[in-house]
Symmetry: C2
Subunit: 394 residues, 2 copies
Amino acid sequence: MIDQVLVLNSGSSSIKYRLIDMASRRETARGLAERIGEETSVLTHGGVRVERRLADHEEGLRAVLAAFAEHGPALDRVAAVGHRVVHGGSRFVQPTLIDDEVERAIEDLAPLAPLHNLPNLEGIRVARRAFPALPHVAVFDTAFHGTLPPHAYTYAVPREWTEKLGVRRYGFHGTSTAYVSRRAAELLGRPYDEVDSIVLHLGNGASATAVRGGRSVDTSMGITPLAGLVMGTRSGDVDPALPAYLNRVAGMSLADVDDALNRDSGLLGMCGANDLREVWKLADSGAPDARLAMEVYGHRLRGYIGAYYAVLGRVDALVFTAGVGEHDARTRALAVSGLSRLGIEIDPARNAATATGPRMISPEGAEVAVLVIPTDEEMEIADQVVACVGSRSR
Amino acid sequence: MIDQVLVLNSGSSSIKYRLIDMASRRETARGLAERIGEETSVLTHGGVRVERRLADHEEGLRAVLAAFAEHGPALDRVAAVGHRVVHGGSRFVQPTLIDDEVERAIEDLAPLAPLHNLPNLEGIRVARRAFPALPHVAVFDTAFHGTLPPHAYTYAVPREWTEKLGVRRYGFHGTSTAYVSRRAAELLGRPYDEVDSIVLHLGNGASATAVRGGRSVDTSMGITPLAGLVMGTRSGDVDPALPAYLNRVAGMSLADVDDALNRDSGLLGMCGANDLREVWKLADSGAPDARLAMEVYGHRLRGYIGAYYAVLGRVDALVFTAGVGEHDARTRALAVSGLSRLGIEIDPARNAATATGPRMISPEGAEVAVLVIPTDEEMEIADQVVACVGSRSR
Ligand SMILES: Nc1ncnc2c1ncn2[C@@H]1O[C@H](COP(=O)(O)OP(=O)(O)O)[C@@H](O)[C@H]1O
Ligand SMILES: Nc1ncnc2c1ncn2[C@@H]1O[C@H](COP(=O)(O)OP(=O)(O)O)[C@@H](O)[C@H]1O
């Protein structure tokens, strides 16, 4: 039996961690080492905050372990370490016990997610050195979409690109989507493999996924996390000829356009703010571009709901999750407005209620259950670690 | 009263033309000068075919007029010339009487459609010299989408791009979509402005448009005709980060990628054929990539039908038109499969019937009327020319 799992999420200049007790399904510690490599780094361990320079991930993790030693809890019941890895390519569609070969494969996938996989890998390396006796398991953000059928993951592009260059839809937010779609079935009291749902993970990044009986069958992000819904700073879908157009009329380089589509677009690009709370504030104070930004955001969402309704043919549940999905009642209302013919409606009072747990916000007896389910990627990673290590040790 | 309209569609090396008698609403002549500028050009005028070199559009049009003089019919009843122009930008949302200023404006829009607007303009120039006394009217393929609401035409990109560089969704196939959506209302015996429809123009190029009461409210093509559905050689939607990815992993230039997405992608890219008849033949002979190509094609269509269902909220008619839409019953069946919960179904016998006129292929009493309406862009252009010239001369 796995007692506790340490979950690590290593970014380019940060290590986020959570210690999870599997018996109680509770988090017993969490923290964040950030600004690693900068002049002054910051370690937050529960309520404790320390400023000091952390030169690299190695020093960062050592500082984390020192904080555990000094402030607790003890790490002696940790039985496995789970690592969030963004891109698993076509190969990794299950949680995977990490060895040197798996490390190399994660490195080989770096071109698909250069900003993510290499930092993820760095975190894995230092953690394997710190806990050499423990099993380390990689949980991939793409993995849940390993069930996409070929007609959903194949782009209409030259075959060489597909066959030799790994060009296909991968999808992201898989760990979160797996978690909330399962919780949705539980909330409905129905077997997971009988529930068809559309999951809207709306955070800074945002994605929509069509889930048929627990399997991802279509998803809005693509070969990278740029495609699909409007996001905080990412454009989501645009005409793929846009980079060539901007090069032609404004001499912009491909790198400049790609950078702008990822960092200066989305809500930020349209109205100067990327946090929905800020955007709504601007819209309410009358800023026309903020109003338009929310209309574009809602329009894109409704389009994807309709598209995935068509893909699924029928829908049991529409699930909102992540920062926006869990907390922003107005955006939820915007997303479903005009969809009553699809059986999708929300009860305004239920939608507006300040609640935090999993809940239904559609009217009693509605054809499609509209749900708000708080996501918990770390708990999902811990569960997958247990499944992986458990199955290997049997 | 306008008696006859000459409709011209000038491409980079061709001039297509039709002479239309407005009283009878019949075409009285049609022809094509092609391979203009090449070693040997070809002029087809009705049943007559002549091979000879046509150095430029000027010589091309002169040859066309010579063919009219020699083989008839007479052109003395032509009261106006209609020109198909691909890109009208944000300015031209109505058929427009051409003067020198309009010519300059069409030229200024060339960066938005470099392969189309300049040849269109060349055709306008030579035709105005040939018929200096007649009114010349430009009918823009983007114009019908002038009613798109801002939330449908605005991309989630930096405001400067939108405000200064003309970056927005324009949409194409507007003339065809206007024509068939109006015919659809007629077939249903209902006022045009009360019918909500989804129009699928499926030819070599392909687009979907949501039409609410005769007004385009969303459409799948974008700033260029690359976006949206899978086409003969165009990819339609892909992750907008794909160009940057291909540059990173394969050193491809932006121009190479853009070219490949426009010319070597779509059905051709996936399975080596771009004519649907050929693709089906390959699929039936067991070629797995042709089967997959059709599945991808159908999946994309169903997604857009669902998305536009959500955008419209309710739908009276789903309309198929253009080469594929009018003739390919299997593709129509593929497009609507699994959509019965949306009230969209076809009657297999009606769908398979070999008919050529406007017709209904949904079962009697179906919630959504599924229609096949042959398009006629030239007739629509002629009608718009009459509306434009008629209203000016009053
Ligand atoms: N009460 C709220 N109302 C509206 N938006 C909120 C609210 N709380 C958080 N958000 C949004 O959630 C976003 C963060 O979502 P989250 O899922 O935590 O982020 P990430 O995608 O980075 O994991 C914030 O940028 C903000 O836009
Ligand atoms: N009987 C048919 N079955 C399937 N596809 C057809 C059939 N007839 C024509 N097509 C398709 O229609 C396409 C041409 O459509 P059309 O609307 O005429 O072209 P364009 O988009 O160039 O105006 C052809 O490439 C072919 O794929």
